[in-house]
């Protein structure tokens, strides 16, 4: 049994973070230089952490498997980033952002973390503006906002459809400045394959040099993991091709609890699947739901073109069922409803797609007005589908997008391995069972710019870890372990390609651990995943050598880990006998098909502890709600 100490500070919710900052240990500037910190991952969370830790004077090494730290998955975020600035004077506040986020997460997140996130959200915008991030502006020169799902205020800051890119390049710039000043060293084209523990604390890492294939050892006094989310487990998702769970999973197997793995977000507005050879799904930003209206034909199997279906034969199902929020309901609600109407045969031409229609917006603000707001998204749609969305409504369908689950961390973002911190999408911390739009960028940057710089000082100041040498036995053994694993995979020499196994895993998961789940399906799928894992380890074929650029070997390692994660996702979903947020169990729903929570029994974070392959122990962190009343989420 792991002892889960969330370290949530005492006191009033709104004063917790301020008090905690005061109570934490501070390291004097001259001493910071004596500490080496490893950051793995250079997305928003990792880059902002490395930049800020470098500014403070720590000696930072940052690793990424990309050729450049400018290319993390974060770069693809389109829509925007939330902050409680209340620039629109629409009664927004830290409290409202906090409340929307807790409610959006269906009361399965930690109050204290979510409050802190809302509290620092405003600093993030200031920070990014000062870095030269060219956010959208009004004609008068002030910052512009748009609306996102799950909120009735307009608090999302954006840079066209390229918000993630601009924020990441801002953090990349700040980090480069620290490289220039000698505080940060960037070590690209390296894949993290294991953490080295000494006396139970994280003290270094083993990486594979992706150009030479060599395994390399690096020591430090603390490790920060910011390696992103895991929904590529579904094979098809909106995530970048290289996003994977390996870093988090290997750390999990070394003792870090994995929390709420079944909380995966299926995003409502993505391009539908078009064929078996497709490599990924493309997100159409949620911001489109500001002006686009979602509908399906009322008649099942209607094969008429969208422009031939008259108004009164269309079902604007979100507006009909949720008049208060309409097309701006949270993602889980929008996705599930798309699935329902398609399951009823009302999808486009009876298939798996619904319309996202801008006709009203064209009439209201003109095609040019729409182009100004969403031009690049419309271009992207036309480019991919070959259809012009200015003439024909877009076709969309939900796709795996984000993982709310991740490594368990305490209030200071430390995992159950001391000295191992986890930031950004890789941790489980702030979004409960469902994440609202424009809040992942906020969380990544909050973790990196405004939280880890303080909590790292507290750890180092308390533990005062000594420097360690990479020639110690712990390093050698861990490296040997990694090497054996690689050699084992290369020696299988079976018949199936890595991708073909990954695809099969994806099909199993999207079907049984996707938008809706049930007991029987989950039990079945656990066995099937086990069988598939067995097939992998006896029949996969990996060509090429260990000491060369070998992308098949890279993918094989990741798929091996996905095959274990998939089982835990199903196990977690099976354990949670309730529906909450993105986790929808068919057995637990209200009369009108909404998620039915069970607060009595499941108001906890499920933190799984790895025992051995296919075996975990469940640890529970009870969630206390002292400031919000647990309510049934209603968007009607």
């Amino acid at each position: 049994m792991i002892k889960l100490d969330s370290k949530i500070p005492d006191g009033k919710l709104s004063e917790k973070w301020t008090n905690h900052k005061f109570n934490m240990k501070v390291i004097n500037p001259a001493n910071k230089r004596k500490f080496d910190i490893i950051v793995v991952g250079s997305g928003l969370a990792g880059a902002s952490a490395a930049a800020t830790l470098g500014e403070l004077g720590y000696k930072v090494k940052i690793f990424t498997f990309h050729d450049s730290t400018r290319r993390a998955h974060s770069i693809a975020a389109q829509g925007g980033i939330n902050a409680a600035k209340n620039y629109q004077n629409d009664a927004d506040s830290v409290y409202r952002l906090f409340y929307d986020t807790i409610k959006g997460g269906d009361f399965r997140g930690r109050e204290a973390n979510t409050w802190r996130l809302a509290e620092v959200s405003n600093n993030i915008i200031d920070q990014c503006v000062a870095q030269g991030v060219p956010f959208a502006r009004e004609y008068g020169g002030t910052l512009a906002n748009r609306s996102f799902g799950g909120a009735q205020v307009s608090r999302t800051f954006y840079a066209r459809g390229e918000t993630g890119q601009q924020l990441l390049l801002g953090a990349y710039g700040s980090m480069n400045r620290q490289v220039n000043l000698g505080n940060v060293e960037i070590i690209p084209r390296r894949e993290f394959l294991d953490v080295v523990k000494i006396d139970g604390h994280a003290r270094g890492i083993i990486v594979r040099n992706l150009v030479t294939g060599e395994l390399e050892k690096y020591a430090s006094q603390a490790v920060v993991l910011a390696t992103g989310g895991y929904v590529n487990v579904y094979f098809l998702s909106t995530n970048a091709m290289n996003s994977n769970v390996t870093a988090a999973w290997r750390v999990h197997k070394r003792g870090a609890a994995f929390a709420n793995p079944c909380y995966t977000q299926i995003h409502p507005t993505c391009l539908p699947v078009h064929g078996e050879d497709q490599s990924k799904l493309v997100l159409m930003s949620e911001s489109l739901r500001n002006d686009g209206r979602i509908w399906v034909p009322k008649k099942p199997g209607d094969t008429r073109g969208p422009n031939e279906i008259p108004e009164d034969e269309r079902d604007y199902y979100l507006e009909r069922r949720y008049p208060a929020f309409g097309n701006l309901v949270p993602r889980d609600v929008a996705s599930r409803n798309a699935k329902y109407v398609c399951d009823e045969g009302k999808g486009i031409a009876g298939g798996k797609a619904v319309y996202l229609d801008f006709s009203d917006a064209f009439n209201r603000i003109g095609k040019d007005g729409v182009k100004d707001k969403y031009g690049n998204l419309f271009d992207m749609y036309a480019n991919i589908t070959g259809v012009n969305p200015y003439n024909v409504p877009m076709n969309i369908y939900p796709a795996p997008h984000y993982s709310m689950g991740g490594l368990w961390v305490d209030y200071e973002l430390m995992s159950t391995i001391p000295g191992m911190f986890v930031l950004g999408e890789a941790n489980f911390s702030d979004h409960g069972a469902n994440r609202l739009g424009a809040s992942a960028l906020m969380q990544g940057l909050s973790d990196g710019y405004f939280i880890i710089p303080y909590t790292m000082g507290n750890y180092l100041g308390t533990e005062k870890p000594e420097k360690v040498d990479v020639e110690t036995n712990e390093f050698k053994e861990t490296q040997q372990n990694v090497e054996e694993n690689i050699n084992k995979m290369l020696s299988i020499n079976g018949k199936q390609t890595v991708d073909s196994i990954h695809k099969r895993l994806g099909h199993l998961l999207i079907d049984k651990v996707g938008m809706s789940r049930d007991e029987q399906g989950l039990k079945e799928v656990i066995n099937k995943i086990r069988d598939l894992r067995e097939e992998f380890w006896t029949d996969v074929k990996i060509v090429g050598k260990a000491n060369d650029i070998n992308q098949t070997l890279e993918r094989a390692g990741r798929v091996a880990d996905f095959l274990e994660l998939g089982e835990l996702m199903a196990k977690d979903a099976l354990n949670r006998n309730e529906s909450c947020g993105a986790h929808f169990r068919e057995e637990y729903q209200t009369e009108d098909g909404e998620a039915l929570r069970n607060d009595e029994e499941y108001k906890y974070v499920a933190a799984w502890e790895y025992k051995k392959e296919g075996e975990w122990e469940l640890n529970k962190e009870d969630l206390e709600f002292e400031n919000v009343k647990l309510a049934t989420r209603s968007y009607k």
Partner: protein, 255 residues
């Protein structure tokens, strides 16, 4: 979405290592016009792997034209025949049944070929480290609205900031010049009020490292702009040259 499959001949550059001599390998493929060119390569790789042969090494990540990881020269053009698209956004419906494609890496003295279609573009990062930032520490920023920036200025800065760092401009240029890439970053900060304090130091520092990293000089042929997936304008080069000239006047350096 299109229906009928098309037949293509793909000649793809294979090169085992930086030192090895490369060659084209020929593949005949029947493919869906809705597939992207990277999905065609995935397909070819799946077959190669199943036959126990080494797949074609190539890089990609977002497959949405924003991360700048992908990039081939296709029939002589970086990122292929379509304007303002990255390689990953090139769909096969843009080719006709029976077409032949020649697919090569981005070639330039500054971009070493590592394997097949993978090149080393780390020179770009070195230039950014030299000055591609605004010096300012976390936590000391004023309110975001304290600096008023006209919409046109913010838009113009974003036009420059959209560069995805792919390197097509360098591959397109007969001199392997990185002026468009560097000009884009220099311009983003030269346009914005936040970038003014370091404006002239920045341009000098970045240009210096650009020259040190084997990127050639600009002779105004504008092949870069034509191939840039983000349509970064050569006006950014002009702006950079102007600032560079001003910087020399201001600092009195004449190297």
């Amino acid at each position: 979405m299109s229906e009928k499959n098309i037949k293509l001949t793909l000649n793809i550059w294979r090169q085992e290592s930086p030192e090895a001599k490369g060659h084209f390998e020929k593949f005949e493929k029947e493919i869906s016009p809705d597939a992207s060119i990277l999905e065609v390569l995935d397909e070819i790789n799946n077959h190669l792997e199943a036959e126990g042969k080494e797949p074609i090494a190539f890089e990609s990540d977002c497959r949405e034209g924003i991360c700048g990881t992908c990039g081939f020269v296709i029939n002589g053009q970086p990122h292929g025949p379509l304007p303002k698209t990255a390689t990953c956004q090139l769909h096969m419906r843009n080719f006709k049944d029976g077409d032949s494609l020649y697919i090569e890496p981005f070639r330039a003295t500054a971009f070493k070929i590592l394997k097949d279609l993978i090149v080393d573009r780390s020179g770009f990062d070195k230039i950014q480290v030299a000055g591609g930032f605004i010096s300012f520490n976390t936590g000391s920023a004023p309110d975001g609205n304290a600096i008023s920036i006209a919409k046109e200025i913010a838009d113009e800065a974003l036009d420059a900031a959209e560069c995805i760092g792919c390197g097509a401009c360098v591959a397109a240029c007969k001199n392997s010049s990185a002026m468009l890439f560097v000009g884009a970053k220099v311009s983003q900060f030269a346009i914005l009020p936040q970038g003014q304090p370091e404006r002239y130091e920045r341009v000098q520092a970045m240009v210096k490292v650009m020259d040190e990293n084997l990127f050639g000089s600009c002779t105004n042929t504008y092949a870069c702009e034509a191939e840039c997936p983000k349509g970064i304008s050569v006006l950014n080069i002009a702006r950079m040259n102007r600032d560079y000239f001003m910087a020399k006047l201001k600092t009195g350096t004449n190297e």
